[in-house]
Symmetry: C2
Subunit: 340 residues, 2 copies
């Protein structure tokens, strides 16, 4: 898919920016969460707020805390509690980013040099541990054991997903099922938990909690598939994003899996070389991108993302109608068609 | 101090091995904890139990879970709960070891090659995250919010201590107060939490919880000071331990601080070179060891450890008398005079 096609698709499907719309609806709450993020990442050991600020204040979309706020507000839960738990969710996410940057040796994150390159791998691992611990302190302050269960389970599942991804990287026999299992764990589990917390705060019934968890899960899968397309989009360099990280790490993501299924002998040899043997030369990333263009892989991958997006929207069927639900539906489309 | 002096000291002060004695008294409980450690480190992602087994099954002293068991038994708390929480404590400790090995680039841990060198830094960080999450799942299953508060706070403090240590490494102006603050956080906080959990399980009064926390805190400080001596003991190589890790990382530990206080101009220049400038050559470690011998630094450092050891023993004043208390007192001496 070329850029014109992508632009057209975005304008057709989402006229607004649902994250901005949600931020507007939940303006006072997001401000409270941002203030709490700053307050609770503080420490007498100054390297901690320095590094955490570098990462967290740099922006990021704040999708996960917004989801916690939206899901809580939708079921009329106490928003004070949602602030604290949304902060915990963002800290867990930030900790995984810090550890992921160490792991992946990424060069850029959120348009700037990755924290590990500025502060060192050591500091990144330890500040990640601090944010992770702080998240559990916040949950403990809230004091709801069901929420502690949901978020500690999600944390364990994320780590399992990341380890599973390590085992599949460079393995050309990875299946689409393996891939979905990885992204369910490493990305969608926290989306699901962030949403499920809402109805639990509101003491809603299990059906509501399950519906929100499913919405988050499928949204997270769609979001990650879109991310895995973006990792190959050459024009992202303009946006200050690294392109080709997944390729260089021989990660078995959806575009690679779908292109492999259509590969002729010559292409198969190419994938064997760059994935199995990890022999990569100048021009190989461009070669991969050309193969994707040839087979319509971007569109095929987008279709897969839409499959999960549709499931996310369906999960909202019985959720209370209103502007929050409207924007949560729009967020699904946005997550799939976003450019960053 | 030479080895003969050390050996004499050990035989004078501890005729038994208190960890073995505690393990005997708490035999059924330690077996339950070991079984739970194996069961709860399992995962469908096989690299996780592989790596965790490599680290945890390799042994280690199990000091922290033993402390949780002893403190619970001493105050007649429910031992089933202690098993789960002792497992959580050991998982937190194991997670910090895994992250510490990545951080420190240690070459050996528990007499074998460090996990990160066998499995890679990536896997070590992520399996650490898994064990850490699993620890919080175990605490959540227990369901006591006070215990969740104690252990999540300890985890945050540990991470802060490790970051603080990063900031003091290579800084020749580090004070003894800075050093004590670092080891209080990175080591003693978890010892304190492991002990404090006991009376909380037993619903004992706050005085008992405070006494156990103090015992653990001071024991942990003494334990770490002894560790920092051991890092310079040349004969440890026989035991399969790395010697000189702290030296190579320009860590400002007690022996260095005490030797610096007595340094003449030539020695000061030596320390400036190896710490501030981090210029280290063959023979420098031996030079540092010779300086320690000259100034009686080992004995001076041991004296410092005994100061905290005495505070640990004093904290047990009002604790219930019996074989557990006897061994907990002996453990203080053992921790200071151990050779591994």
């Amino acid at each position: 898919m070329n850029n014109t096609a992508r632009d057209t698709k975005v304008s057709q499907q989402t006229n607004t920016h649902p994250l901005e719309e949600l931020s507007k609806i939940l303006d006072a709450d997001m401000k409270a969460v941002n203030a709490m993020i700053i307050a609770r990442m503080d420490s007498p050991v100054k390297l901690i707020p320095q590094l955490a600020t570098y990462l967290i204040a740099a922006g990021g979309k704040r999708v996960r805390p917004l989801l916690t706020l939206a899901a809580t507000s939708m079921y009329e839960g106490e928003m004070q509690r949602a602030h604290r738990l949304a902060t915990a969710v963002e800290f867990i996410h930030s900790a995984t980013l810090l550890h992921d940057d160490v792991v992946d040796e990424s060069e850029e994150r959120r348009g700037q040099e990755a924290a590990n390159l500025v502060f060192g791998n050591q500091a990144s691992v330890l500040v990640g541990d601090f944010l992770f611990s702080r998240a559990f302190q916040l949950m403990t302050e809230d004091g709801n054991l069901e929420i502690l269960r949901i978020l500690s389970t999600a944390s364990a599942v994320i780590a399992q997903g990341e380890v599973l991804q390590l085992s599949t990287a460079g393995n050309i026999n990875t299946t689409m099922d393996d891939y979905i299992e990885v992204i369910k764990a490493k990305t969608a589990a926290l989306f699901a938990a962030a949403c499920e917390v809402g109805p639990v705060i509101a003491s809603s019934d299990e059906t509501a909690a399950k519906a929100m968890a499913n919405y988050g899960l499928y949204l997270g899968i769609a979001f990650q598939i879109a991310d895995d397309i973006l990792d190959y989009m050459a024009d992202r360099e303009k946006l200050g994003k690294t392109v080709g990280d997944d390729f260089r790490e021989s990660k078995m993501t959806a575009p690679v899996l779908l292109a492999l299924a259509k590969a002729d002998d010559k292409e198969r040899a190419f994938w064997e070389r760059v994935i199995t043997k990890k022999e990569q030369n100048d021009g190989d990333l461009e070669q991969a991108q050309a193969i994707f263009e040839k087979h319509g892989t971007y569109d095929e991958t987008l279709k897969l993302a839409h499959h999960y997006g549709d499931l996310a929207i369906k999960a909202l069927d019985d959720a209370p109608d209103g502007p929050l639900k409207t924007q949560m539906i729009a967020l699904v489309q946005y997550s799939i068609n976003r450019e960053s």
